[in-house]
Amino acid sequence: MSANRWFATGNFYTTYREEQRIFVTHLDRLFFSLLLIGLFAWPLLVPTSNRNMLVINNILIAVVAVYGLNLVTGFAGLISIGHAAFVGIGAYTLAGTAGAIGESHVLITHAWPLMILASGCMGAAFGAFVGLPAMRLKHLYLAIATLSFQMIFSWTINFMTFFNQGQMIPVGRVFWINGPVGRNEHYLFWYYVILVTAVACGLGVRNLLRTRYGRCLVAVRDNDRAADAMGMHPGLTKVYAFALAGFFAGIAGALHTYMFRGAGFESFTLHHSIIYLAMAIVGGLGTLPGSLLGPVAIQILELQMEHLSEWAGALLPANMNLATAMRPLGFGLVIVLFLMFEPRGIANWWRICRTYLKLWPFRY
């Protein structure tokens, strides 16, 4: 271990335990603590519009969902293109319950942390079930299996009257210690709930990756036969990878339902599955910072493309309809360029920065 716990300039690990620490230096810990304080304090210091809070909450919900996708696709190497369906499972667990017992039932309005957890568990159960084919299938074949799940989910929600045939199922306002959370506090309240959830889930993933179960995921991704030979169970590992992904997705779905005060099918389509995948890839597959940076980058890109097309719409001749094409084209182009020139994602930039700082001033 480095003598100076604040500024380590190289790798000084002498035990595996040291290498598995969450924070390598005190500076890391301080930086993380300051970041957390900043994230919790800024809404109280800077007045923010409901619209902006909605955008930020959406990003944080996507972060929770992408934790799951990154576990299954990034760490375990299993392609999933039905992740929005898992998010939908969580959302409809809550919304379906609200539809059955009443949107203002005490279970929905008062026991909401329990409902969020239950939605996560339901997501995990469906994840494990969908993960079963992973015991026999790989690569594109597995991708098709997850795509099938997305299709089955779409059909079920759109067909069953229990799910209001895909139309909105409302969910009542939740209660906090001082009474119901009103419209004025709604987005701020959910910002804190989602932030706490995102931080807890992030620490959960970080800790998982320090355990043998987390290392199993990576081992199975790198070579499942070798992992098998070393005593791991590749099939079981793949199933629990899907279950974990389903759990995080389910949590994200429940948060989405509470924040939007209901669930409707439009938020859980194949298009959304592709967006989640884009977030994981752009952020950096197989990295924890990638799960944070990807959703931020994609959501900001989407907003900027929206502004750009709106601005172009005011300048270009009305009958050309060019502005309407700019948004999907520009968005797609940025993703393609990103994949071509930075396939390791934004997390790689973060890694480069950290490496530079770690070695500074002794670069070699």
Partner: protein, 406 residues
Amino acid sequence: MKRFHYRRWVVAVAVVLALAFTVPVQAADTYKLGLSLAITGPTSDAGNPYSKGVEDYIRLANDTKILGDAKVECPIRDDMYETAVTKRNFEDFVDQEIVLFLSYATGANQALAQDYNEVQIPVIPASMDKSLMAASKYIFLPIASYSHQYVGVAEYVAANHKGGDTPKVAAFIHPSAFGRAPLDDFKNAVAAGLKLDLVEVVEHGKDLDNSALLQRLASKGVQYVLCQTVQSPVATLLNDAQRLGMTAKTFGEKGKITFMGAHYTGGNDLIALAGTAAEGFHWTTSYRLTSEKGPWTDWQLDLAKKYGRDEKTANSHNYANGAMAAQVAVEAIRRTLEAGQEVSRESLYATLNQMSGDKAFASLAAVGPVSYSATDRMGVDAVQLYVVKDGAFRSVGEPFKPKYLK
């Protein structure tokens, strides 16, 4: 000399400042609306001309000073048919203190209904789903609901079918609540005495060939297919029926099938997609069409020309749809100002609710007056039947109100 100049400047600045802080600036009021709809993504073929209709009418209202010196602004946002984006746009508009919201999709309106109730903002949607009126008392449908249009088509069949038998019909519907909701009202009408025999309900997929479906319907003796969906699946169905020689040349032709539909099944886009196969297709809406001569046609085409729209947009009933939604909103503002009231969400809501009886708004865009009250928030109650003849929709008879649906 220098000192004199200095003093003169100080006095001048003081006078200007005093005036600036004491005399109120007589700036004209600007009232803000907001429109969120699908300009890209699913249903953008309808959303695009709709947005242009709104945009052009707002510009016209300002250019021709319909509100006197006051102006109306209506920022338009693309929500790509995504409820989450619609919600974001709505919150943005509420932050900007809009007085009336122009919305779009059924799903998004249902999702936002609770917000409408809490913000207490009047809303005019592009969706004509009947359930929206129950979801929020602040939602005002511009024209007859999908259910009214669908039951209207069914009533026309029952009233005009020749022969003593009960007409056999099949429902061809969109696989969603949008398609299914009017069917429930249709079934209720049959249960209440509408003489029709519903042989089969078909929830269409994305089939590119409907031969087997059409053969099955023919073998069951189906004479009429009533569609409640969007244009492209109807166009596919019509093309296949034409290829198989099943399309009725005249209404109710024996041994053939007459195809009919409600609002989003028809329009010029259907003719563009189906070509000659669209001939004989019967369609209901509450809007007037540019294929029919009349004052509205000239007005709509002039409006589109004035703001540089292409021919397709100018002739779209969705362009008329958007223009009329904006027209109702501006009219509500005008009446509120006329009554000497301050324009706010509250006063506009009250004004819209009073838009009935002799105060109903006669928009030339629709086949009847727009009337609202606290118990009836469906604007135009009447529907008009059109049929495709020689590549254009022509009106059949006079506008009517469905009897089996109140």
